[in-house]
């Protein structure tokens, strides 16, 4: 797997001012990665233990700079998922 999908990279480059939700997979200590992300003005939403990764919120331009960091393994979109029932509009 590439460090970033070409389609995501192009999207980030086209709209660098947009705020994006990403999942960043890291090599090494996640705690150190979180500290470094904060230095880079990246908002860390969650850090994980099942996989070595963090969920973050930042500008597209900042996301592109993450690719320069040697401990960043991959940057991917924090994709939306949804309930898999048909024609269901939940409501109260």
């Amino acid at each position: 797997m590439d460090r970033i999908e070409p389609a995501l990279q192009a999207k980030l480059q086209q709209r660098p001012q947009d705020t994006v939700r990403l999942i960043v997979r890291v090599a090494g200590d996640v705690t150190q990665a979180v500290a470094r992300l904060k230095e880079l003005e990246v908002e860390v939403l969650r850090s994980f233990t099942l996989i070595q990764a963090v969920a973050v919120l930042c500008s597209a331009a900042t996301a592109l700079t993450l690719l320069q960091e040697p401990w960043v393994q991959t940057v991917e979109e924090d994709q939306q998922v949804s309930a898999q029932a048909r024609d269901t509009q939940g409501s109260r």
């Binding site: 999942i23 099942l50 924090d78 898999q84 939940g90 409501s91």
Partner: protein, 397 residues
Amino acid sequence: MTKIKITSALAERMTAPGAPEEHRIIVRYKEALAIASRPLAGITLQHFMLIPAAAMRASAEQIRELAADPGVERIWPDLPVHICLDASVPHIRAPQAWDAGCTGRGVPVAILDTGIDPGHPDFAGRMLAMQDFTGEGVRDNHGHGTHVTGIALGAGNKYKGVAPEASIYVAKVLHDDGSGYMSEVIAGLEWAVQQNVRVINLSLGGLGPCDGTDALSTACDAAVNRSVMVCVAAGNYGPGASTVGPPGCARKPLTVGACSNQDAIAAFSARGPTSDGREKPDVLMPGVSVVSCRAQGTSMGTPVDALYTRASGTSMATPHATGTVALLLEGFSDLTPAQLKGRLKDTAKDLGLDANAQGKGRADAYQAYLGTPFTPPPSPPPAGCLVSILQLVMPNR
């Protein structure tokens, strides 16, 4: 000849692991013979008037003796009757697994979804932990999570789910509009693993195609590596090829597509292969017009009454598999996730469809319990529900 008289359902019970010494059976005699005048091998409980038959308790040896009697026409197992969750739970023969002693009692199962209606009576006394990852609170204001939980774990008098005595853990990872982010689902997965659950249900997904290397799919694989079985929906983006989306394309979980109660694949059920060429889904389960629990005040699906609603989707198919896994884990607690996945696949009913539509076929709870390849249902079908008694008394119906 004697084997033909013993229904295959009874024969399976006589040879199943841990089979009891005595079996409750119903013996049908040839019309012309007076039952009362014949020597009966077992302990007779009741003679019937509507049909020339008697209910009795007998050992396997006595059953074989009865089968050798030329006056005996047929020997059925005398099954307990249940009111079942619509038609889908008897269709996968979960009641037969209950009758064999597996109801999922105490098996910890996590449902990661839109939350739950904690006041629904079908979950009373079994909800051990709830956690919200959306910021909205764990209450289900959508209806999807409560419906899914009911299919896997509901214990209603009116509708009963697949594993009605399992323990319930709920993580709300989808918002009240039915959607969420992968990162919220991964957080829910981690929580469920920390709770030491044995099975996790994910009736959710994103758009395909995918190759199983995305964060959510790899987190599902990691949960399986921690000895937790994960059942995931294939998605509702079928019938085109390569429409299975994440986490349905993950390598280690069981990916579940949907079929009807007549074993016809649902058009919406997503198809494989994954973008790296693997066959998906793994199995099908019923996911069309399934009646299950309705969260109070919600309108998801087609409401049946205040407590139940009807809905379709691979979301509904997946908890049939999750409940089945809970049944298996009660009976065979040492099974690993890989063995559980293999067992559901290897015992599935082959529907004769493409492997990227049906996987190995429609999974069957009782066949998975027996651990042997699927055999056609006996006649009359041992549905374990009231309908089987009707078919016994009125075979031409």
